[in-house]
Symmetry: C2
DNA sequence: GCGTATGTTTAGGTATGCCGAAATACTCCT
DNA sequence: AGGAGTATTTCGGCATACCTAAACATACGC
């Protein structure tokens, strides 16, 4: 019989879970194939296995959803991933853009004991280096009410609450411009079609402005701090 | 084509290397099968693969030896294993008898970058929690001149230099009796046929005596500190 | 409502790494 | 030297997880 310990099974479940963490619609077979970088036909086969294991629901030609057991496994894998990322950054000096791949490798091999001892050593962190919430051992997770940066009007102040980790180049760019978790931002202008966003980075006299568009905007979630009238911002 | 990244290949090479670390005779196919807990026929197949990869030498019905490339891989795996064990004990509060299995899982998945950063964080340790030497990144390893405890005469003082990690029960027993790395011992008597050894554990008035035999003696290597005449030892 | 594009599944095949059973080589003892 | 016993290899098979190509559904535009 198949087993929940297979790292493929874990990857499929984690990816299905991850898809619905920030949006509601369930994932389809081909989207799953893209995210896992496998052929569509491989997805069909593995998803059948997940159904057999009681981890997923799937009707022919329909979307794929997780059962409670699948959700629990997904949350456990996310917990592993995020705790490992936190460790790599806090204790081994990894930078943002490096952690994801290393965590991806490690999350399948460490034991539950390892994870719980790591959690204790890290002081039971509630979010990872990208701002993503870390589920508890029981699978409880808090949904931070972050919004997309481009949903804010000019003059709005905000604090970086989450940075998508699925594009290393974007992470590198942001790190290079001193944009990190909790960095204060001020939306100070909007380019053609509203697609380009000018933001002031940092507080006070040392702040700089940055043009953000496309992937960069999509990667940033912020916690709004309200509008801030009549501000002056130094230019880079 | 096959690859050096396969965790099976790594396990085979590490085991072949490990066999010759403390003795000279090369390993045979069936011994390898026992240590890896696989069937003899599996060994034949995998060893052929190692030969193809240029990692091992093997003539039909003969013993198995490593090529320089195989030796390098073996040392790299041992380095990984021992650095991970050191981390687990020093930073995550693992005990002696727990580390081995966890390290076994981790050593295949972490990257070289991870290992080198871990090494730096640990302060470039030269031996692991069992006293085994940790090879350098270039594959240099120091052979500590430890001797077996039962090669010492009565009245000999010694310091625990290495503890074999292949029997968790033995490790547990020793830890429970306050015998660890660098613990001073005094050989104070010898049982029937010389098979049972009485040793005094620790220095000064707080010392206790312990009867060691069989597996326990085999698991202990010590650095001799010369004879110590006319000592008195408290009994437990 | 029909055909075409897109999405999904089926069918057949590959690579890895393991197994047990049977055949074969080696070794040691007499 | 011959035969018993052990060690090793060969052979056919199994499980996992992937692939490509072809068949099949679904959905959308006209």
């Amino acid at each position: 019989m198949h087993s929940i310990d297979s790292s493929s099974v874990q990857d499929y479940v984690k990816t299905i879970y991850g898809f619905t963490e920030w949006q509601e619609t369930p994932i389809t077979a081909s989207q799953l194939a893209v995210r896992l970088a496998v052929a569509n036909s491989s997805v069909t086969g593995m998803v059948a296995k997940l159904v057999e294991l009681g981890l997923a629901r799937h009707e022919k030609y329909g979307p794929i959803t997780l059962t409670p057991a699948g959700l629990a496994l997904g949350l456990a894998m996310v917990r592993r991933h995020r705790l490992i990322e936190t460790f790599l950054v806090d204790h081994l000096g990894y930078s943002w853009d490096e952690v994801h791949d290393e965590a991806e490798l490690l999350e399948h091999s460490v034991s539950d004991t390892f994870i719980e001892r790591l959690d204790r050593k890290l002081g039971h962190p509630v979010r990872d280096p990208h701002g993503d919430p870390i589920p508890t051992p029981n699978g409880l997770i808090s949904r931070p009410d972050a919004v997309r940066l481009d949903s804010l009007d000019d003059g709005h102040r905000a604090r970086v609450a989450r940075i998508s980790d699925d594009n290393p180049a974007v992470l590198k760019f942001l790190a290079g411009h001193a944009v990190g978790l909790d960095t204060p931002l001020l939306v100070s202008g909007r380019g053609p079609f509203g697609a380009l966003l000018t933001v002031a980075v940092g507080d006070g006299p040392g702040s700089a402005t940055l043009q953000l568009g496309g992937e960069l905007v999509a990667a940033l979630w912020v916690e709004s701090l309200g509008t801030h009238e009549g501000c002056t911002v130094a230019t880079v």
